[in-house]
Every structure is written in C-alpha cells, then in structure tokens.
Amino acid sequence: MNRAQTIAQPTKAQPTIAQPTTALPSIGLPPETPGWPPAPRLGGALATLALIGGTALLAHLLLRVLPGGAVAVPDASLPLFFLSAVLVAAVAFGFWAGMIAAFSGFATLNYLFTPPLYTFHIAAPQDLFTLLVFLLVAGLAGLLAGRLHDRAEAARARAEALAVLGALSAELANAPDAAAAQDVALRHLAELCKGPAFALRLDEGRPQLARVFGLTQELDAADLAGADRCLRLGRAEPPTAAGWPGSRFGFLPVLAGEAPLALGHGALTGPEGPRRALAIAALAEQLRLALQRLEFADHARAERLRAEAEATRSAVLTSISHDLRTPLATILGAASALRELDGALDPAARTDLLRAIEQEAGRMNGHVTNLLHLTRLELSAQARRDWVDLADIAGAAVARARRSFPGGDLRLEPAPEVPMIRAEGGLLEQAVFNLIDNALHHGRGPVTLRVSAGPGQVMLEVADQGEGPPEPILNWLEGPALRPAPGQRGLGLAVAKAIARHLGGSLTWQGGAFRLGLPQAAIGDPTEAPTKAPTGAGP
C-alpha cells in the first residue's frame, strides 16, 4: 500500500480515535425517554382487568356475604381495596395498565358498591375525588415503575457490555499474536452487535478481508466503499439505514501495527443501539492497544535476540582469535628467536624451536580448516551426498589422527557390516577427526571408536574415560546454535555438530561417549541407484 498514506493517517485519525475514549464513561447511561411511556401489552391489560375483577369479588365477599363475621370490614375502606389493586397494576404492568386499573376500578366500585347500587350514576360529587386519587396514584406509580424498569434494563445492558469488554481485555492480554488478538476482538464484536464481525486491511490499494467471524454473505461494492473510506480517512463509518443504498455494515478504524485495520460489524438495532456503539468503539480502542502492545513485545523480542546473537558472535570471535593467535605467537616468536639469537642458541634449543614452529603451523592449519568448514556450512544449505561407509570414514579419521597426534592412545573397534549412508565423505571425516581430537585433548585414557547400526540410522561413538564435557557444552550440544558456546575453546565440536546437522544427523553425549548418528534412509535423490543396498546388512 501507499507508504505516505500509512504515515499520514495516524495524525489525521487521532481525534476520531480519541473520541470514543472520552465518551467511554457515558456507556450504559439510560437514553432520554421523550414522549409517552410505551403502550401496555395485551397481556398486561387483561391481567389488570382480572385483578380489578378479583378485587371486586374479594370486596363483595368480605362486605356483603360475610357481614359482621370474623372480620368486620367497614364500607369506608372499600376504595382502599381498589386503590391497592391500581397500585399493583401500575407497578407490575406500567403506566397505561395503571390508568386502565384506575378507570375500571373506579367504575366497578361505583357500580357495585356505591349507592345507587348497580348504576354508573355518581350521586355524590366527592366520589369523583376518589377517581381523581385513583388516577393520580396509578399515574405516579406507573411512571415510577416504568422508570425503574428502564433503569434496570439499562443496568443489565451496561453490565452485559462491561462483561464483554472485561472478557475482551482479559483475552486480549493473553493473546499471543496479532491474529489471535483480532480473532478475540471479532468474537466479542459479533457478540456486541449481534451480527457478523470481520476485519479488513488495504491490500494493493483495495480493502481485503483479513479475518472473519460469522460473516455469511459476500461484501458488495457499497460495503467495500464504506470500508475503504474508513481505512483511508481513519474514521468510523456507520452503517446505512435499512432501505437506503450504502454499506450494510459499520466500520471502525484500528490504527496499530504496520497497516491500519477496519473492523466491520453488523448494523445495530433496537433501543440499545447507541450504547452498543459506544461499547464497540471501546472494543476497537482496546484492540488497538493490544495490537500496539504485541508490536512492542515483538520489537523487544527481536531486540533481545539480536543482542544475544551479538554476544554469541563476539564470544565466538574471541575464541577464534585466541585459537589462531596462540599458534601464531609461537611461530613468530620461535622464528624470530632463531633469526635474532642464532649464535647464542644451542643445537638442541634450535631443533626444539623448529619443531615448535612445525607443530604450531599444523595446529593452525587445523583451526583454519575448521573455520572454513564452519563458514561453508553456515553459508550453504546444500550438502553433496555420495554413498559412503561410516566404518571407512572412521578408519580414515583414525589414521589421520594417529599422524597428527602420535602419542594418543586411539583404538578403533572392528566394525560390523553397517548400511551405507548418503553423506559428504570429507565433511564426515572432519567431524570424526574433531571428535577424536576433542577426546584426546579434553578426555582421559584410551579413546575408543565404535561403529554400529541402530533403527533407521548408523552411529559412531567416540568414547574416552574422562568425565565428559562440562554443563554449558552439554546444553549447547542440545540447543540449536551451531556456533560454539561462550567459553568453549576451539571450533572442533562446533564443526562436528554443524556437520552432523548438515547431513541430517545428530551429535549427542551419551554414556561417556560422543555419538554421531546419521540417518540410514538418505534424503538423497531416489532416482540415483545405490551401489550397495541402503537397508539391511549384507550377507
């Protein structure tokens, strides 16, 4: 996408983003209720009439059927019966139910109990006052009850929104990456808008769906135009009202990460709409913060890895420079001594200096060879693979080690017939030689080489009688790093490990021996015919 746009957008979009944040505290406040309270449902009206009827029956029983009985109820308390019914109806079913109760209650009272009986004629004007009281009580109680009901409804909606946002922030905090965070946000967004939720970002200048939750229909051109405006202008795009041309979905910008994201959601319906819109804005803001946090965490992780790699590289450099410089110091020192002190040196000393030069030059050659191997293995992923016999390789390495370290006690156990493997012979020999070198110089007692075949692999073990490598080297051996561990002198083991990995095998320390395991079934080219069966021992 256009780079300049990406950069320009955050500043432009800042006020838009800030707006929901400042509006947050008002989430869940009841909307203004202008006009009349909502009309009662039919059920409420019928129940109100039934209530009045029941009251009339009760009053009739108490006053007319059981006069002078256990409970003597005076006539004067009659209106109180109906007043109670009116109150109950208004509280239970709302303002209009209360009104119905007031009228019907008054009519019943007038018809059944107020003289002249069984007519709606109002004899005494003060009875009208009773009707007035009924209406007043019913109206007040109905309005109060309605408001209480609204409050409760609002509180429930607010609690629901807060629960969603709370769950969202908890889940966002645990999201391991940006994709997971977006999925979490979309799931909650779908819950808030009771419809589909999806995320888009600009791809080659056009909004493309990045992640989706519960979206069943295709986005049409109008929807995409809404998303495009949201992404380009960095501002919220509300859905178009039903029946009008335009986007069916609302879009909110989330400006975090390398490219802005537009959160699409289904249109909000019902009286809770405005409140849900606020909750959705809060959700978008939370997602932005979460994405930003993840981005920072990524940066920090990358930075830490870089620092670690840097430390390792510097440790390796120190180790290599020590390896190369020590023999060089001897060579230069001994050669200059031979030249400058020529006459003063006795013959034995002269011979010893010459031998020192020769030995150190050989040692240096070994270091340089290893260094070149390691560099090559790090640079190239391709191994040349020929059919080789591990026992032959071991024999060659032992012969070379005997030439290089004449004093070393080195034994090669007679090898059983092992399957041939696909490997680069020269590399493998170097790995074995390095293991022998390591055992002779850091181990103890006779060094024994053993070649064997295991399930699916051939193995070579180089055992000595020492205690084995120290803890940091064992840890390094198990880890993925090819370069030597800090404090590890020499490149020999590192090269052996790199070669083992390069050939698809492994280098481990087991039971007092370094074990080089190489896969029997080579990864090699299947069309190339083996010169010797790669599986099973020959006759």
């Binding site: 230069l332 020192g333 200059s336 001594a337 400058e340 002190l341 003063a344 020192a356």
Partner: protein, 229 residues
C-alpha cells in the same frame, strides 16, 4: 656474574617453550608458571628480577596478579596481551605493570622491553641530570638544554617531559600522565594531553611531524625514547 631471573607466566605450553629457549640464549635464567596462583607463589619464593605475564590465565585475571604483587613488591612486570585487548592493557598498566608487548611478537621487541625494565631506575641512582635523547633536563632548575642551548617550556610541558624522561623507553599511560601533571580530577582529559604533547614536540623534536623523542602508543599513552647504551 649472576644472570637475571625472569619469571614467565603463560598457560600456553608452546609459548613457555620458545620463551624459555629465547631467554636462555639471551643471557637470562627463567622459570615459568601456568596459573596466577603459581605465579604469585614463585614470585615470593624465587624473587625474580622481572615477570612476563600473560593477561589471560585460567584461574585468575592477570590484572589481579598485578594488583596482588604491587602490594608487596615493585618487581618489574611486562604484560603480554592480544592486540584487541586494549582496555585490558591500559588497566594492567594503570595497575602498575611496567610495559606491555602485544601478541604475537618478535623476540627482539620483547628483549628490548626487558632490557629497559631491568635497567635500574635513574632517579634512585642519584644526582645525574635526566636525559631524553639529546635533551638534558635539570629538574631542580626547571631548565632543558639541547646541545647546550636552553629550550623554553611552560611548566606543564616541563612536567610532561620530566614524567616521560624518568621512565625512558617505557610506556606511560594517558591516565598516569594526566594524573601527575594535571591532577586526579583530569585523568580522563586525553584531548588536553594531545594538545600539550603536540606543543612539546614542536619545541623539542627535530622534525615534529615524525617524532623521535616522544613516541605515541595509540590509545594507550606515550613512550619517551630509550636512553642509548
């Protein structure tokens, strides 16, 4: 006549080997240690005339060996160090090592440093005026003569010259010079020192662009030219 005894401290057997032959042929006796502790023990038992110390030892930091020794003796110490260990080198010198030789080195260089360090300190010898190449320095009278003609130096330049002439042939670190001439508050002000050394060279060197009397050890300090003979 007894031959001076040199203690070589290095954990590399091959280095000990050629240094042993070299010192024997050059007219010194030598003994060797492969660890810091062994070096301290030998320095106490054998009372060598000089110690050649590799800074990278297996058991302890070479600098710790210098610190420990300096509490007991002013045995001359020549430090062996790799070229890239500049900081180590400077710290070793500031701790009291007398000079350094960077590895790898030709034995001629080492033997030259050895001779300079083994020469008895001139101050201790007494009244003879300080010399630096053709310069004769009368510290008491604050006068410097070159071929009989007096050179006019500022007090700071004079002090710098004396500091270098007192240790002819040996490196003196930036910190040591700054501390001595400007005081301990200024030991980090290397740019000062550069300016004053430049002025001093203008006055004393025959060719200030190719100094022969005050030599630069880049990043470490300066070295007054070794006395002849």
């Amino acid at each position: 006549m007894t031959r001076p005894l040199i203690l070589i401290v290095d954990d590399e057997a091959q280095i000990l080997r050629f240094l042993g032959h070299t010192l024997t042929a050059a007219g010194y006796d030598s003994c060797s240690a492969t660890s810091g502790q062994q070096a301290l023990d030998l320095a106490r038992q054998r009372a060598p005339d000089l110690m050649i110390l590799d800074l990278g030892l297996p058991d302890m930091d070479g600098k710790a060996v210098i610190e420990a020794l300096r509490r007991e003796t002013d045995l001359p110490i020549i430090v062996l160090s790799a070229q890239d260990q500049e900081m180590e080198k400077i710290m070793a010198l500031d701790l009291g090592a007398d000079d350094f030789v960077a590895k790898p080195f030709a034995v001629g260089e080492l033997l030259a440093r050895l001779r300079v360090c083994l020469r008895p300190a001139r101050r201790a010898a007494g009244v003879a005026p300080l010399r630096l190449g053709p310069l004769v320095i009368d510290a008491a009278a604050h006068r410097v003569l070159r071929d009989g003609a007096e050179l006019h130096l500022t007090p700071k330049e004079f002090e710098l010259l004396v500091a270098l002439a007192e240790a002819p042939g040996r490196v003196v670190t930036h910190r040591q010079l700054l501390g001595r001439v400007w005081g301990p508050a200024h030991v980090e002000d290397v740019p000062y020192l550069r300016v004053f050394i430049g002025q001093l060279r203008q006055k004393i060197e025959a060719d200030p662009a190719n100094p022969a009397l005050i030599l630069t050890e880049p990043g470490i300090g300066y070295r007054g030219v070794a006395a002849l003979g």
